[in-house]
């Protein structure tokens, strides 16, 4: 697992790594091994370049100063930027719908304590909220 790479053509470079590997050690007299990761910086030459990593779909996560996306690298990651955006949109639509239900529950509590004005205002806000989410749903459908 690699993060924050600065790749150069020669392959010789230095950057922060998070290594994932099996590690055997002893706790309280019991020796066991488990996979773990740790980060450190060192200089080395990659056995293969970054494009090859993408081509092989080798699991790795990194930043290209592009907000976490892969659009600028030209590689073929397991998930395309569009797939990621669509997944994020789907999450947001579902998330907003869940918040709308929470607001409805809050409005119901306001009604129970006798504040009808506040209840009506919150329910009006829920309606506006749902209209906005409907617009997002249309965008989401167009992405699929």
């Amino acid at each position: 697992m690699h993060i924050h790479h600065d790749h150069v053509a020669s392959g010789e470079h230095s950057h922060d790594h998070i290594h994932t590997h099996s590690h055997q050690h002893t706790h309280g007299g019991v020796t066991h091994s488990h996979p773990h990761a740790h980060a450190h910086e060192h200089a080395h030459t990659h056995p293969h370049d970054h494009d090859a990593l993408h081509g092989e779909n080798t699991p790795h996560d990194h930043s290209h100063d592009c907000d976490g996306g892969c659009a600028s690298c030209g590689g073929s990651c397991a998930h395309t930027p569009m797939e990621e955006l669509t997944a994020l949109m789907q999450y947001m639509v579902n998330h907003n719908a869940a918040h709308a239900r929470e607001l409805e529950a809050l409005a119901a509590q306001l009604e129970q304590i006798g504040n009808k004005t506040a209840y009506e205002q919150v329910m009006a806000a829920v309606s506006d909220f749902e209209k906005g989410n409907m617009r997002l749903s249309v965008v989401l459908a167009s992405l699929k």
Binding site: I18, H34, A39, P59, D61, G68, A87, L88, Y91, H95
Partner: protein, 63 residues
């Protein structure tokens, strides 16, 4: 219920370990992050704090 950005030790852009994190597991001295696309990153360390309103988490590592 919101997605979070997870940082290593300090809340700075260069310390971001993962964005859009939907699940965090702590196991065997490691913190396992899973994002919306089901990708996982495992870091040796512990959960220092989680701000569930602003959607950020800080993992404390030995560095």
């Amino acid at each position: 219920m919101c997605l979070s950005t997870v940082y290593k030790n300090t809340m700075e852009p260069e310390s971001i370990l993962m964005r859009n994190v939907m699940r965090i597991d702590c196991k065997g001295g490691c913190v396992i992050l899973t994002d919306l696309m089901e990708r996982q990153v495992t870091i040796e360390g512990s959960l220092q704090m989680a701000n569930l309103v602003d959607g950020f988490v800080i993992v404390k590592t030995g560095e």
